[in-house]
């Protein structure tokens, strides 16, 4: 029983990090039809930001995360203006290659600035403790991840379902031309969504630095998982990626624990089957 709880718990916490990173990619992809494989680089940048502010400058953990997220968000706005903007509406091949190029540059820069090895991140004492509930003991760091994931999911849902900004966003995802013709300025929405997405990715990357190790190959390491969440979850819904991340995180942890000889094979096979069944994503409305 404890083992099942442990697997569920660890799976849940990995799922939350995946969700926080993937939600931005799902939003930008749903809205701009832009296959941004380099989205994981923003998460990596967030992680390295935490390393820089927290480890090298010695600032407090939460302040470092906030600064790092802010920095990455600003950088992503610049990138959107200079590069991404020009490729909206380009072919998939161009978008894929462009974003792979960005991944290469980002990892080269990371390697140049921080070296090729995995970075250590010191979490505050309060987060490195264990919480015990009867015979089951849980890491408080992972508990924090789960809480943060649910809080973010809740606030994203509120943002998209209850605010006028969210309504405009959903309109632009559903039908961009129609939205534009009733006066929604989709260009402004794009840059806003893009920045929101990269801010979330940076936040997730920094927050999850202990679970998903920060190293130059980060974007490629996590690409498969993030893409699975986005593709299986479906574009333009909020709960789709959330459920997909939950299933993926828990199944992956369970497979690694009980069927290590299968490795990730089952995950990939499941993705292929799910996508064949519903090519637009399992939870998409179409």
């Amino acid at each position: 029983m404890d083992i099942i709880l442990g697997v569920l718990f660890n799976g849940l916490s990995s799922a939350m990090i995946l969700y926080v990173i993937a939600i931005g990619m799902s939003l930008t992809m749903g809205m701009m039809r832009f296959v941004n494989l380099a989205h994981g680089s923003f998460a990596m940048a967030g992680g390295y930001g935490l390393v820089f502010f927290g480890e090298q400058l010695g600032l407090p953990f939460w302040l470092s995360i906030a600064l790092s997220t802010l920095l990455v968000t600003l950088a992503s706005a610049v990138l959107e203006r200079l590069l991404y903007r020009r490729l909206y509406g380009a072919s998939e091949l161009e978008q894929v290659l462009f974003s792979i190029g960005l991944i290469f540059v980002a990892s080269a820069v990371a390697r140049y600035l921080f070296g090729p090895s995995t970075q250590n991140v010191t979490v505050p004492d309060a987060l490195s403790a264990q919480i015990s509930l009867g015979s089951f003991s849980a890491s408080s760091y992972r508990s924090m991840l789960i809480i943060a994931g649910f809080v973010l999911f809740g606030s994203m849902t509120l943002l998209l379902e209850k605010t006028s900004l969210g309504a405009k966003l959903r309109a632009a995802v559903d039908n961009r031309r129609m939205a534009e013709s009733i006066g929604i300025r989709s260009e402004q929405l794009f840059i806003l969504t893009f920045c929101l997405g990269s801010a979330l990715a940076a936040f997730g990357g920094a927050l999850g630095a202990e679970v998903l190790p920060i190293r130059p190959s980060y974007a490629f390491d996590q690409l498969n998982y993030v893409l699975i969440v986005v593709a299986v979850g479906g574009l333009g819904t909020l709960y789709g990626p959330f459920v997909a991340a939950l299933i993926l995180g828990i199944t992956d942890t369970a497979c690694k624990y009980w069927l290590p000889e299968l490795g990730a094979f089952f995950i990939f096979a499941a993705m292929v089957v799910l996508l064949l069944w519903r090519p637009n994503g399992v939870f998409s409305r179409t």
């Binding site: 091949l93 290659l97 792979i100 540059v105 498969n224 893409l227 299968l262 490795g263 090519p279």
Partner: protein
Amino acid sequence: MKAHTSVPPEAAAELLRRHRFRPIEALPWIVIALVYFLLPKSLALGTQILIMVMFALSLDLLQGYAGITSLGHAVFFGTGAYAAGILTIHGVGEPLVGLLFSLVLCGALGLLSGAIILRTHGLALLMLTLGILLMGAEFANRAAWLTGGADGLQGMVVGPIMGLIEFDFRSRVAYVYALAVLLVVFVLVRYMVYSPYGRSLFGMQQNINRMSSIGAPVRSRLVVAYGVSAAIAGVAGAVNAQVNAFVGPNVLTLELSAGVLTMLIFGGVGRLYGAFVGAAFYMIMHDYLARVDPTYWYLWLGVLLIAVVMYSKGGILGLADKLLAWGARK
């Protein structure tokens, strides 16, 4: 044959003319031959380039003509390599048999997976190609009894070609062998893309709905293109395994898929010779830069990729076309 009489004579002449070799098309082959005589020390790299040209050519058929973007083309290269390698371990050392085996196996796999995944398009198709590659990679990694797992395939014994010509240590035989296979593959692909079938692929890339409504069996034609492309990629993988007498898990990676896409876009997509120029450019740059420092390699690769996508969509050959047109106007 009544239907054919409606083709205007000029159009028929144009169709025939396309099949004819133009003098400029001899250039890459002359360069390849010259390398053999002038740069005997670089033949190992040269062989690797020829293999990548073949691989990029198979992808060009898929991307440049059928318009299918794949992130998982390495699955066929890798399967071909493992198939040819495993065959030599089980006592079949003849390289040509290995080629044939990889060709049939990868062709069949391509047709089968193509028939399944080509019902989708866009992001789903992209993810399905990637998913199949990841499945293959995970399988090769886990099935150590068959593939050697993470250590790669050990103990390959590649016999002499047709029982006569042994591979030598200076890669001379390997180079000529790769060249011969490439030549056969190239003539086949060239014939294919200039045939009516190739034209219909191109039409589907332009507007698949219109092609469908004029009665072209779009799905089956795409599946055939996928199968042929897979078979060629498998042959390239088999040659790679045979000349190196080793297969490592790096043949089944997203990096290789991305690499071959990169070669193609560097050279120029949808123009056959883009594969030659792009693969040579990529491999030589890699050889030079990675020796200095792998960080530089990734940095320049990334910067070049972004620059090509933003500023020169035709790649190097597209740039050459533009320069020629500019020169002609002067």
